[in-house]
Amino acid sequence: MQLTHLTQHRLFLPLLALTIILLANVLFSPEFFHLEFKDGRLYGSLVDVLNRSAPTALLAIGMALVIATGGIDLSVGAVIAISGAICANLLNSGFDALPLVIFAGLAAGLAAGTINGGLVSIFGIQPIVATLVLMVAGRGIAQLINSGQIITFQHEGFAAIGVGTALGLPMPVIIAVAIFLLVQILMRFTALGLFVEATGCNPTASHYAGLNVKAIKFSVYGISGLCAALAGMIITADIQGADANNAGLWLELDAILAVVLGGASLAGGRFSLPLTMIGVLIIQTMSTTIIMSGIEPKYNLLIKSLVIIVVLLLQSPTFRQQIRQLFGAGKAMQGDRV
């Protein structure tokens, strides 16, 4: 009874999938589970998984909200590049007070979000194209800021965003967790979550019920822009350089993938940030596992696609029922024979 209760919990299947992928490492590389405490911080592959998940997690938090309103934000990868470029150039230009730099980066993200939000909610342009525009042009803007070069910088304080340690964990993990908690509280302890979901479920009816649908759509793109800017700073600080050409390239797809692995529908509606985080972890664990396993890189994509399909199928009620029937049928046949 208790067990069935457990298996029916909505966190169960995604967690199961994550565990299975983690356990695959027992076969390939047992070092994966090695953890030690070194120089005041936890050290090991599991920590790396968390650390490398942080930017995607931040993107996915914003993306989850955008998707919940029935939109999509393809521009986050480009926003990463822009915020990184702005921060790096400021650091090199002498205006290197940390709060100022961080503020500038966030402002860039907010500006990007405002553009997206404006296009979607005021001009009524379809989200996928509206944000595609910034996805293309945004990377151009970042390259323009950097003149196509990688801008490196030396700044202990800013670098700490990417490589620092707090509470024995890498700083990016702390930042991602903090933002996660903040947004989760904002969504679940105020009425915002309800408004976002209602907007995604039925915008017309929500409008009739007195919600300011436009403002809600507008603000989720803003939040998404801010999250992306933060992710951009982490990525930039991590390599102590702003790579406008490659920072965050195709990361939007990972973020969307995470949100969907977390059970959200791209048509809008219900969303769950905890489940989205599990989705992020599944994706990153998969990447790290592939690197650790020593499989030839040309098989990376094949493995990734198969894992995704299996995880999705696991979550599909129809598939589970088919498996159960197969299983049940097997039992019945055995019974017949006896």
């Binding site: 196509g148 390599i239 490659n246």
Partner: protein, 306 residues
């Protein structure tokens, strides 16, 4: 119909018009390359039509065809990939426009399709990197490899050249290889994982990175793991972008093989020679890439930083 025939006529009266189809702007090396060609054209008073293909061959082909439609005097192509150029170069030939291939090679059987190639040799770069490493370690080394993007010509050829030399040394082997996608971030991420998989890096003798960016990323990862890049683990890479000289000067990486971005000069030379009616233009102009090490890194950095 009228206007399209006017274009070449008016162009000859004025200065030379050259179309340049560039791969994209995926790395800072590539950007330096574009800038160098533009600067060279400006110096010579050549009107350069620049087209960025955003890493897509189809865009390059479109650009070349539109250069033909515009009736430019010559076309320079830095191809994204070796194959697939025959149809469009045939068209250029029909239109009587000379084509110069720069950087990567093109697989063409018929060498009348182009005027000349100003080439860098990726396989040779791989060999040079390997030779340097084999010398530094006396042929005994467990190497981890950071590959470029899977399927990219530069990655495939550098790997082939490197492995060719390694094969001659029985105590040298590649113990791990994974793609770092030519980027700093991914290079760092992969190196982090390698370090953990190889007893905190104790069993790694050297990193062989297909470009400088990944090498810099790897150096960061090694430092964060508490080891000393350049000493505990050697790092060798290709490209010779300014940043790697800084890293070498700081003792973080060990060697790089230069891939010169200054290929515009020889290309324009060939075009101008062709216009003057010269016929003895060589079909291959090789750009030599040297190996740079920590020894000269500081002064090279000062020179290249601008």
């Amino acid at each position: 119909g009228e206007s399209s025939q006017q274009a070449p006529a008016s162009a000859t009266e004025k200065n030379l018009v050259v179309g340049f189809s560039q791969v994209g702007s995926e790395s800072s090396w590539r950007t330096s390359f574009s800038e160098s060609v533009k600067a060279e054209a400006a110096k010579r008073g050549i009107e350069l039509k620049f087209s960025d293909a955003q890493q897509k061959q189809e865009n390059q082909i479109k650009a070349i065809r539109s250069f033909i439609a515009q009736g430019v005097d010559a076309i320079i192509v830095a191809p994204v990939v070796e194959t697939g150029w025959k149809p469009v170069l045939t068209e250029a030939k029909r239109a009587g426009i000379p084509v110069v291939i720069v950087d990567r090679n093109m697989a063409l059987e018929d060498d009348s399709l182009y005027l000349t190639r100003v080439a860098s040799d990726f396989v040779e770069e791989g060999r040079k990197a390997a030779r340097w490493l084999m010398e530094a370690t006396e042929g005994k080394c467990d190497i981890v490899e950071l590959q470029g993007t899977v399927g990219a010509t530069a990655a495939i050829d550098r790997m082939a050249g490197f492995n060719e030399v390694i094969a001659e040394h029985e105590n040298a082997r590649i113990i791990r290889t994974q793609t770092g996608e030519f980027t700093r971030s991914k290079g760092k991420e992969v190196m982090e994982a390698f370090l953990k998989a190889e007893q905190s890096g104790k069993s790694i003798c050297a990193v062989w990175a297909h470009n400088d960016e990944m090498a810099i990323g790897a150096a960061l990862a090694i430092k964060e793991a508490g080891l000393d890049p350049g000493d505990d683990i050697l790092i060798v890479s290709v490209d010779a972008v300014p940043d790697i000289f800084k890293a070498m000067a700081d003792g973080d990486t060990n060697a790089t093989v230069e891939l010169s971005p200054h290929m515009g000069g020889p290309a324009f030379d060939a075009i101008e020679a062709h216009r003057q009616g010269k016929t003895d233009i060589p079909k291959l102009i090789t750009i030599q890439g040297d190996v740079f090490t920590q020894a000269t890194a500081a002064e090279e950095y000062a020179k290249r930083k601008q």
